[in-house]
């Protein structure tokens, strides 16, 4: 559990972060979003005390961060940064084992943990353990960065634009990896990003920042349905907001039982998002889709007309 109450940060005479408050319950995923220089990275760094806050309270599991020893505090918080920050003079295995080694785990335990993490993050140990960071691709390096952050099994994970420097395809892959990981590990995560799609995709709670202040916060859906002002609206994609909202819910949640009418030609798996369903409708020139389960058995139907009506009537639920 992370709580920030009226936290400010002053650099010299510049106000970098201005009286912000938000909280991340245990096991939840929070994304700090905003344009560059809005204070989101500073906010993140105040949580593990790489930057000390000027006023207000930052409370971690019921205790103010100031009361922790900063070194001990950081060892129990996973930290991932944009250009990976891997140690270039250590190989992959040694990089991943950094924090366990600082915590003086026995060598055999460290080795076991490193093995486990490498397998977990799809980095075959035989191939990667002895490689050096400069021999890795950007995506591989960042996976090592995530593994290193997870090494001592921290409850809290801080990520500072972890995928910002990667190409779109690699970024997409790592995002889905992170989503899977979070579904299994339930860490308390704070992610800093300027990529709204990334935030919408991963986060339970969005905090939109601008010039050191919080402009709006809430669930992704709440923000998409009611952006506070033009800034949030444009950050959320302006006219594309509807589609972004559609990408948050699954076909399964919106399908209707199969009716007496002839089933539609086009099919779509029930785990796909509404946005993908709309795209299929446009591509296939049809208003109805047959929804199938993973065995390709029809289980329902999706109709454009009903979807449009529904969007006005009630807020959709998140899958």
């Amino acid at each position: 559990m992370i709580e920030l109450h009226n936290v400010s940060k002053i650099f010299g005479d510049a106000l970098a972060v201005d009286e912000i408050s938000f909280s991340v319950p245990k096991g939840k995923f929070c994304a700090l979003v905003g344009t560059s220089g809005c204070g989101k990275s500073t906010t993140l760094r105040m949580i593990n005390r790489l930057t000390e806050h000027s006023s207000g309270d930052i409370i971690l599991d019921g205790q103010a961060v100031g009361a922790y020893n900063p070194v001990q505090l950081r060892r129990r918080i996973g930290y991932v940064i944009q250009d990976t920050g891997l140690f270039p003079h250590w190989n992959v295995a040694r990089n991943i084992g950094t924090v366990p080694r600082l915590l003086k785990w026995p060598a055999s335990q460290i080795r076991g943990r490193v093995e486990e993490l490498m397998q977990f993050l799809d980095l075959p140990s035989a191939e990667f353990a002895h490689k050096y960071p400069h021999q890795l691709s950007g995506g591989q390096a960042q996976r090592v960065g995530v593994a290193r952050a997870l090494a001592a099994d921290p409850d809290i994970l801080l990520m500072d634009e972890p995928f910002g420097a990667l190409d779109p395809i690699t970024r997409e892959k790592l995002q889905s990896m992170l989503a899977k990981l979070q579904a299994r590990l339930h860490k308390t995560v704070v992610l800093v990003t300027h990529d709204m799609d990334e935030a919408l995709r991963l986060a339970d709670h969005l905090v939109v920042m601008r010039e050191g202040k919080i402009v709006q916060q809430g669930s992704p859906l709440a923000l998409l349905q009611k952006p506070e002002n033009g800034f949030v609206d444009s950050l959320l994609g302006g006219l594309e907001r509807g589609l972004k909202q559609a990408s948050l819910s699954r076909v399964r949640a919106h399908m209707t039982p199969l009716g007496p009418t002839l089933p539609a030609q086009s099919r779509i798996p029930d785990t796909y998002t509404l946005r993908q369903a709309l795209s299929v409708m446009l591509r296939d020139h049809c208003e109805r889709l047959t929804v199938v389960d993973k065995h390709d058995v029809p289980v329902g139907e999706l109709s454009l007309r009903k979807l449009v009506k529904e969007a006005h009537a009630q807020p959709g639920e998140r899958a």
Binding site: V71, R74, G85, H134
Partner: protein, 405 residues
């Protein structure tokens, strides 16, 4: 129609001709030196002026022919560099370097009759030119072939070893060898003194240099002043610095008995060491400072974020990453100290410089060489060994930019 097209050879043919110009120039210069300059000279005794001999008299026609043939082969290889040309060029260059002392053996056999007991063989300008040009060839070939410095070390050791063997067993006629035999005890003592002075200078300046660099990092305001002082020290001529230290050290020794008991005097090793260390500090401090500052901030940030204490961060991350540049500083310092120590002989600190200044005084060039050649060898060895080490360290860890898979 352009004139060139009127030539019997086609223009494309010329356009495709890509010789290695550097090698070609070097080898042609060597050929010219070999045939145009004196290869050796012979003096009936140590005092009389020597007479020079051209290549065909010194080596005989077979020797001259072989040397010319080898150089001609190099011309051919350099003119049309193909896949195997560079290894072949390297092999021929090494062969020539190894054969050089045998040429001298041949010359002493041709030119000096056994009954001339006092006669001495001097190395002539053509020989020095050849030696110099061949070293340049090796440098060029190393760059072309991307050879590791380790190979250069191997070649250097092999060549030095071969020369040493020849000098010890078959070259008793060579003036240099005679000078050595006349004072081999003094030579070894001077070599020891020289190495000791360099060793102490480098050790002390490494410790001091790292200390000062870290102080400068802590008190960033002192950076300008510190570098200004070090730069100023560097500009004082070495001889002047030795002289300037004479008076204060003599005074100190007279004032404090324990200093005098330690051997501190106005002349000798004390002022020499002080001056040598003063000169060594600038390259050492500058490299250490740059090395420590050059470590990427993101890496250091990550180290803090992982929960490393400042000391852990310094020793586990900053220092290992700074080591290659730091070693570069030690290399520069060592090479510089090897050369400067020669001057220290003037104030009675001993070392190989003794032979240089004595030889200059007696106009005995071979004695000067007795001091100069080991100094060059020491400098080359220090340079290559430390350079190899730095290269090794860099390879394992260097976050090279273009190498991402």
């Amino acid at each position: 129609m352009p004139l060139i097209d009127a030539l019997p050879m086609r223009r494309e043919h010329w356009a495709r001709w890509r010789p290695n110009r550097v090698m070609l120039c070097l080898v042609v210069a060597m050929l010219a030196a070999l045939w145009g300059l004196d290869v050796v000279s012979v003096a009936p005794n140590r005092i009389v002026e020597s007479t020079g001999y051209p290549v065909w008299r010194a080596l005989g026609w077979p020797g001259a022919g072989l040397a010319t043939l080898l150089l001609a082969v190099m011309v051919g290889l350099a003119a049309r560099p193909g896949r195997y040309s560079y290894p072949a060029l390297l092999a021929v260059s090494c062969l020539l370097l190894l054969l050089l002392p045998f040429g001298l053996i041949l010359a002493s056999y041709w030119l000096i009759a056994p009954e001339m007991a006092q006669a001495r063989l001097n190395i002539g300008p053509a020989y020095w030119t050849l030696l110099f040009m061949l070293s340049l060839c090796l440098v060029e070939l190393r760059l072309r072939m991307h050879l590791a410095r380790g190979w250069m070390l191997l070649i250097l050791l092999a060549v030095l070893g071969a020369w040493w063997l020849c000098a010890a067993f078959w070259l008793e006629r060579l003036a240099l060898v005679q000078e050595f035999q006349a004072r081999h005890e003094a030579f070894y003592r001077a070599l020891g003194e020289h190495s000791a002075l360099v060793g102490i200078t480098v050790t002390v300046s490494v410790v001091l240099g790292i200390g000062i660099a870290m102080l400068i990092r802590r008190f960033s305001a002192s950076q300008k002043i510190a570098f200004a002082v070090l730069n100023f020290l560097q500009t004082v001529p070495s001889l002047a610095l030795f002289g300037l230290l004479l008076a204060p050290l003599a005074w100190l020794a007279a004032r404090f008995d324990w200093l005098a008991a330690l051997g501190v005097k106005g002349i000798g090793w004390t002022p020499a060491l002080i001056a040598l260390i003063a000169y060594s500090l600038l390259p050492m401090v500058r490299n250490t400072y740059v090395a420590l500052e050059a470590v990427s901030p993101a890496t250091l940030d990550a180290a803090s974020g992982m929960g490393m204490r400042p000391a852990q961060r310094f020793w586990q991350v900053r220092v290992p990453l700074a080591l290659p540049i730091l070693l570069e500083g030690i290399r520069i310092t060592t090479v510089q100290a090897v050369g400067l120590t020669a001057v220290a002989a003037l104030i009675g600190a001993g070392g190989l410089g003794t032979f240089i200044f004595q030889g200059l005084g007696q106009a005995a060039m071979s004695m000067v060489l007795l001091g100069v050649l080991p100094i060059i060898a020491m400098a080359l060895l220090a340079d290559t060994v430390l350079g190899t080490l730095a290269e090794k360290l860099r390879r394992g860890e260097h976050a090279s930019q273009g190498e991402r898979a």
